[in-house]
Amino acid sequence: MDLSVISINFKFMIGGLALTFELALMTMVGGLLIGVILSIARLSPRPWLYYPATAYIHFFRGLPLILVIFWLYFLSPVITGRPIGAFPAAVISFIVFEAAYFAEIIRAGVQSVSHGQAMAAYSSGLTFYQTTRYVILPQALHNMVPALVNQAVIIFQDTSLAYVIGLREFLRRVNLVDAREARSVELYLFAGLVYFTICSAGSLAIHRLEKRRARSC
């Protein structure tokens, strides 16, 4: 064990976390947005909304993320005739892919609220919008928080896949240091520790927040 390899290259490797966070945050925001739209379509009784959304979700949930990244990076220049940068390619494929998962989490959350709740709200004269806003969504959101946190953690870890198209996020930088220094054991233990710390701190913080919110409301 020679931990000096870590301290010497610490700044360079940790610097990659900025890109990791950037990728993860953009994916969460974009994925959630598209996921909300997809889930609304999937919950809709209208077939022209329901079927395309359902097909989309099944399609992307049936593929490995790394394949989607490859496709977008290598196929889109063939189709559009223009090369695509590694960063936009990664962000777009993450968003497109994760949206399918977010959509299913949101759908399950909404469906976890019993139909009787909507009945009670409608019977008191509330409109569809008011029923959704005041009765269904607060309960649905509460029910879906654990799954959303879980998905956020997965996204954070999955950003490391961006290395396949040459993005220098955190894991890729560790990888580069290893290529030069040949200290795989130390370096990858360090990488694991960093991922573990960030992910568990994140879930713990949200768990605490959720507990406090449950008490106060």
Binding site: G116, Q117, A120, S123, G125, T127, Y134, P138
Partner: protein, 242 residues
């Protein structure tokens, strides 16, 4: 007044839940509907406030058509209170918030006004001390009394009760029935789906027996219990009036 004319309802185009129902309920009357499960009692209630759309027939509540697309269905529903078998209190809100949600959002009352009225109602159902508790902290009987207060907060002209005591422990049934009896005596139009025949005897102006989506028999209190005309009614009554 509720006018129901030749109403039929199918589920999934196959199962006929209501078969040509005709019935008039005068303002201030209390009508009790009984019958075996699956006989269409709850479906009929849900047709009255448009939660269920009947494919045939017409329903008018205080002269307003329920099915007419021109009707403001939200306005119509806000004048009809409904109480459910499984309470359907909003679990993320206190009793107080449950009661004030619709008055604030639908009637545009101020929060203060709505809360004063809610407190009054909670006193009437005798649980003012539970105002700031969440549904999960309340007993079944207390939950149902909050649900009744929630419906009353809209000052409805009509109240629908859908088996509102059948999910309760026996010793809690009375506290809910007492509240309902008081309401009936105050002159609100009430349609009550129940098997509580004691309640029916005490306050019903009319009792309807339904089976397989049809009204089999109707009667005013004693004649209904003492000499039911149809064999099916007799059979049913003999089973529930032990």
């Amino acid at each position: 007044m509720i006018k129901i004319k030749g109403v039929s309802l199918w589920y999934d185009k196959k199962f006929k839940a209501l078969d040509n129902i005709t019935e008039t309920i005068q303002r201030g009357q209390t009508v009790v509907i009984c019958g075996p499960s699956g006989s269409g009692k709850s479906s009929l209630l849900r047709c009255i406030n448009g939660l269920e759309r009947s494919q045939e027939g017409k329903i008018f509540v205080d002269g307003v058509s329920v099915q007419d697309p021109e009707t403001d269905i939200h306005k119509l529903r806000s004048d009809i209170g409904m109480v459910f078998q499984h309470f359907e209190l909003y679990p993320h809100m206190t009793a107080m918030q449950n009661i004030t949600l619709a008055p604030i959002r639908v009637r545009h009352k101020s929060k203060r006004e709505a809360e004063e009225k809610a407190m009054e109602l909670l006193e009437r159902v005798e649980i003012p001390e539970q105002a700031f508790k969440y549904p999960e902290e309340l007993s079944g009987g207390q939950k149902q009394r909050v649900a009744i207060a929630r419906a009353m907060a809209m000052e409805p002209k009509t109240m629908l009760f859908d088996e509102s005591t059948s999910a309760l422990d026996p010793e809690m049934i009375k506290e809910v029935l007492d509240v309902m009896i008081n309401l009936a005596r105050e002159g609100i139009t009430m349609v009550v789906v129940t098997h509580e025949m004691g309640f029916a005897r005490e306050v019903a102006d009319e009792i309807i027996f339904m089976d397989e989506g049809r009204i089999i028999e109707r009667g005013a209190d004693h004649s209904f219990f003492d000499n039911p005309k149809s064999e099916r009614t007799r059979q049913f009554l003999s089973r529930i009036l032990i």
